[in-house]
Symmetry: C2
Subunit: 311 residues, 2 copies
Amino acid sequence: MQRIVLHEVGPRDGLQVEKTVVPTPRKEAWIKSLLAAGIDLVQAGSFVHPEKVPQMADSDALIRGLVDSGVDPGRLSGLVLNEKGLDRALASGVGLVCMGVSASDTHSRKNTGMGTDEATARIVATARKAVEAGRQVQVSVQSAFGCGFEGPVAEERVLAIVRAYAEAGLNHVSLADTAGHAWPEQVERLYAAAAKAAPGADWACHFHDTYGTGMANLYAALRSGVTTFESSFAGLGGCPFTRVAAGNVATEDVVHAFQREGRRTDVDLAGLVEVSRSVAEFFGREMPGRVQKTGPIGPRTPAAPAGEAKG
Amino acid sequence: MQRIVLHEVGPRDGLQVEKTVVPTPRKEAWIKSLLAAGIDLVQAGSFVHPEKVPQMADSDALIRGLVDSGVDPGRLSGLVLNEKGLDRALASGVGLVCMGVSASDTHSRKNTGMGTDEATARIVATARKAVEAGRQVQVSVQSAFGCGFEGPVAEERVLAIVRAYAEAGLNHVSLADTAGHAWPEQVERLYAAAAKAAPGADWACHFHDTYGTGMANLYAALRSGVTTFESSFAGLGGCPFTRVAAGNVATEDVVHAFQREGRRTDVDLAGLVEVSRSVAEFFGREMPGRVQKTGPIGPRTPAAPAGEAKG
């Protein structure tokens, strides 16, 4: 059975769009519970300008605190948007540095002020610096399956970024469906093309569930040989820069589904469900994740004896 | 590209669990709108005892009224549970008669008072009678992928029913995930085994989205050669006889996803979305379907000129 790495991105991709700024100790407790449940990697924060995304302003302190309290830095990731952010990431001690480029020129300009080509050159240079500093690096292509502003995104635009990554020796690559436009056949085609463009790369996927295809896309990625699955506890999230966006596929729903086939049965699903329920409780609203509402498919009442069945 | 038949089951599987009994003219308007949007088949009601499921008490009158007003009876289906129900179905003029057996003994007894074997014999006999009366017949296996009471359901129990159908010449078969326990790999395995047990049959699928795998299961069925897709507008529904159950995958989400790959582009998605929105409005609550909330992925604002991008 293929290797599966679970990368929880809710504390970054989910919490960054919430109106309520979550207190650092609350984030720390959630992250520790997710790791204790057996999630491999947790994206704890984003090294973005604190005034731009106040929800992420504590990322440096949060990660440093987690590492100081004994969390393996290799199980923590942080999102880096530029060189300044990389310096902060390196100082925080985070083990995995994530960065990306949007394949949509419009999305890229809205996010960074640069078009895709310029942003690719900058991110490749920054990623190389992170590698040279001895960190693990994951690079991503945002809006790889479509864009909330532009609509369809040409496959060639995605592959050009993938090739730039491969040429720079950046072999951990995530294709992200930022707006939720992907559908399963497209997912299989894009990963097949990407694997040709960057042979030997390790692939990750990141699906938002805006139009209800998130889980189907994730299974298409699984069939395509993707090994790292990014998801968000309770299904938190969205993208502040696209017009319509829902959260990522819910982590506990992914683990629940995978475990049905005997995958990642080492993960403590009940523990995950508990964390996601505490998220719903904290925000005081219903979350998109299913299994935290229904509970897992568990041991059921034994079948009633025939005579009592109608009773 | 393979043939795809869209079978809307919301007016039966969805409305039967609602506390509010929907007035007949309201149902009639929804069904006509669904057909006008290009849905191939609509399950308008259930010929169950009116006292048992009051929401379905108008099924006879509803279907007769639809047929009398010019709706092609071949585009209407009705659920039949026993011989008495069949007589009512035949009198109503409905074109497609649907009936089924649960592969779970406990579920079967709760629903019918009979275990699976006895229920199979009865349903096969009733289905033969419907065929002899010149009606189209679809037979199903409920709880084919797991049971809310019993948990896992042995594949052999499903295949035994499928074989009994095949031996009786009943070649339109639906496998139903009543409780929502299915996952994609299981779906592919079960349809492969079922195709061996009943070579040449036409297959339908019916997935509830209890644990978030509904759409992924539907794509697994598509890859398995299934041609008929049962779904529920706005994602209405559940099963009153299982402990935890959500509605079917939402029709408009299925059509939206299929159209991304160029499938069933003849269906008027905007029309479907409108019907589903009117369902949400009627019940005054948020529905599970995604696309009726977000709107379809449509034409977007043209990309902003570079100079204005940050503005």
